[in-house]
């Protein structure tokens, strides 16, 4: 009998993802399901979908779930976690959702130290709506609302969310990871696992920022898009742990 080394995790349903070919969302979905499975919480987890390409998350996870209003997942998760303090509660948000319209909600949930975990997908663009500039779009990067490239003079420089949230005392764990290579994917999974662990230990708010790709709206093939993550995104968004209260960080 062969032993299975790798297969689709139990936490995912049979539905085919609607994401574009090579989109990072799919990788991160799988990582979340793997971590939750491994922690034995497959039937003990609630996931909050954002407004963004990941809005159909409820189709893909076997967890209880909710379609949150754009940017408000942290507020909604607060209501959920305070009601079910022993469930694992996860919010999943894009950069438009979390860093633009939902800025107040993420900061205040983090500041209050709400005991849920946010997985933040930074793909530098509004994917769902067809490629508008996000708060995390790189300087010079083209989007449908910055057609000759983002101009920091007009739009400011991109916001680095981990750095911003790390100034607060509420978060227990904050790390930035990427999914551009197998090694980074392994690291990303470890970070999500740790964040969920900290949630279980009720240590405070935890967030994992995943630098990801949007081949479609970047106008690149999936492979080129992952290269761009490595060559352009990561230099602006340095990977690493920004907060870890266990390490006194």
């Amino acid at each position: 009998m062969p032993t299975t080394l790798f297969k689709k995790p139990n936490g995912l349903t049979d539905k085919k993802f609607h994401y574009c070919p090579g989109c990072g969302h799919g990788i991160v979905h799988r990582l979340i399901a793997e971590c939750v499975d491994e922690m034995g919480d497959t039937n003990n987890t609630i996931i909050c979908a954002p407004v963004g390409c990941a809005v159909f998350i409820p189709n893909y996870f076997v967890y209880d779930s909710i379609h949150c209003a754009h940017g408000r997942a942290p507020a909604t998760a607060t209501g959920i976690k305070r009601t079910h303090p022993d469930k694992t509660v996860i919010t999943y948000q894009g950069d438009g959702d979390l860093a633009s319209i939902g800025m107040a909600e993420i900061i205040h949930a983090a500041a209050r130290g709400e005991k849920f975990t946010t997985v933040f997908i930074n793909n530098g663009i509004y994917g769902m709506t067809g490629g508008q500039m996000a708060p995390t779009t790189l300087p010079g990067m083209k989007s449908t609302t910055s057609q000759s490239g983002r101009d920091p003079k007009l739009n400011g420089n991109p916001i680095r969310i981990c750095e911003l949230l790390a100034t607060l005392t509420g978060p227990a764990y904050i790390e930035r990871v990427a999914v551009d290579s197998p090694a980074h994917v392994i690291r990303a999974k470890a970070a999500i696992k740790k964040a969920l662990q900290y949630q279980k230990e009720k240590l405070g708010f935890s967030l994992v920022e995943v630098v990801s790709s949007c081949p479609t709206n970047w106008g690149k093939t999936a492979v080129k898009a992952m290269e761009f993550v490595k060559t352009d995104m990561i230099p602006y968004y340095p990977l690493g742990v920004y907060k870890d209260i266990k390490e006194g960080k």
Partner: protein, 352 residues
């Protein structure tokens, strides 16, 4: 029947706890501050969660989560704060979240004044979120009624899985009156929350739905709401009071604080020989229809603390806009019984 003296806002807080409210999120705004202040102290003692949210937007979205998780929950705010909640209210509607929204109106538009007003009739009854929907709106005229309606609101919310608005004005929020907290409110049957709420799925996933991307399915859901909720509510949940209507030839139509002023005015007008009564809608949606079929009434005189927002509903109920007249004050002004009397005499005089 031990009555206690209490500020309207605090009584609302206490009623919510009595009704089993386990989650409150709200943001300070005059004239409803005593609601969160009271609950910040008392709700945790009753085993509930109080959160002063970062904004009204966050508050309603917290309810969306807490109510979606099966907790009885409430938020409270006032005029511009309710405006900010509109999107979230839409989500609570679509996600079928039972929750109570306490709205204590002040003069508007914008920051307006902080004085009592009824200028938020449209805001409450017509919404301002997107899409087709209705929300039951209860309009108490006394602190006692506010207490009873808050408790009822939680029941209605659970039965129909819908947000329910309790619409007061600053006067009811701020004044003190004796109130009896033991008036019984009928507990209603409803689907157990464990059958649909988050946290009870156990591998048979429970989804709180904000989007139905397939248009035919979305239409189906809309139609289900109208059939299973709104039509039933229109039949079952209409509430109104008729006061001195037996022999009436004229009828005031007023709700909340302005109805009390009408009652005082009726006394004076009756002394002057004018047979006038009062139709007081206690639900603004569904809007009562039956009392307006009274053929003895020559004129329906709508008295509000606004510019006449209820007039269309009265005209539709009467099915003749020419039989509906209006007098009102707005911007935080409360009409005195004397000026209501005067306005009425003028209207009736004109009608003769």
């Amino acid at each position: 029947m031990a009555k206690v003296l209490m500020k309207g806002n605090e009584a609302v807080g206490k009623a919510a706890i009595q009704a089993g409210c386990k989650f409150f999120a709200g943001y300070p705004i005059t004239p409803q501050n005593e609601v969160p202040e009271y609950l910040s102290r008392e709700l945790p003692l009753a085993g509930g969660t109080f959160i002063q949210s970062e904004s009204e937007v966050a508050a309603i979205n917290m309810l969306y989560g807490a109510g979606g998780s099966g907790a009885r929950c409430m938020t409270s705010s006032s005029s511009p704060g309710i405006a900010l909640k509109q999107e979230g209210i839409g989500y609570c509607v679509f996600g079928e979240i039972p929750c109570v929204i306490n709205s204590v109106a002040r003069g508007g538009p914008a920051l307006g004044t902080i004085q009592p007003s009824q200028q938020d009739y449209n805001q409450a009854t017509r919404g301002g979120a997107n899409g087709d929907y209705h929300i039951p709106v209860l309009a108490p005229a006394s602190i006692q009624e506010a207490v009873n309606f808050i408790k009822e609101a939680f029941e209605i919310a659970d039965v129909y899985r819908t947000p329910v608005i309790v619409l007061e004005d600053g006067l009811i929020g701020q004044m003190m009156e004796p109130v009896d907290f033991d008036v019984p409110v009928k507990k209603r049957e409803h689907t157990p929350k464990s059958e649909w709420a988050m946290g009870y799925g156990n591998g048979n996933p429970h989804l709180i739905e904000g989007i139905v991307m397939d248009a035919p399915m979305c239409e189906k859901k809309n139609r289900r709401f109208f059939k299973e909720k709104y039509e039933v509510i229109e039949k079952e949940e209409v509430r109104y009071e008729e006061y001195m209507m037996d022999d009436a030839e004229y009828a005031f139509v007023a709700y909340g604080s302005s109805s009390r002023i009408c009652k005082t005015a009726i006394k004076t007008l009756r002394e002057k020989g004018i047979k006038i009564g009062l139709i007081r809608p206690q639900t603004l949606w569904p809007f009562p229809q039956v009392p307006f079929q009274n053929k003895n009434i020559k004129l329906f005189i709508d008295i509000e603390m606004n510019m006449g927002q209820m007039v269309p509903d009265v005209a539709l109920a009467v099915n003749d806009k020419n039989k509906v007249k209006f007098f009102g004050r707005c911007g935080g002004m409360i009409p005195s019984p004397e000026e209501v009397v005067e306005a009425t005499e003028k209207i009736i005089g004109g009608a003769k």
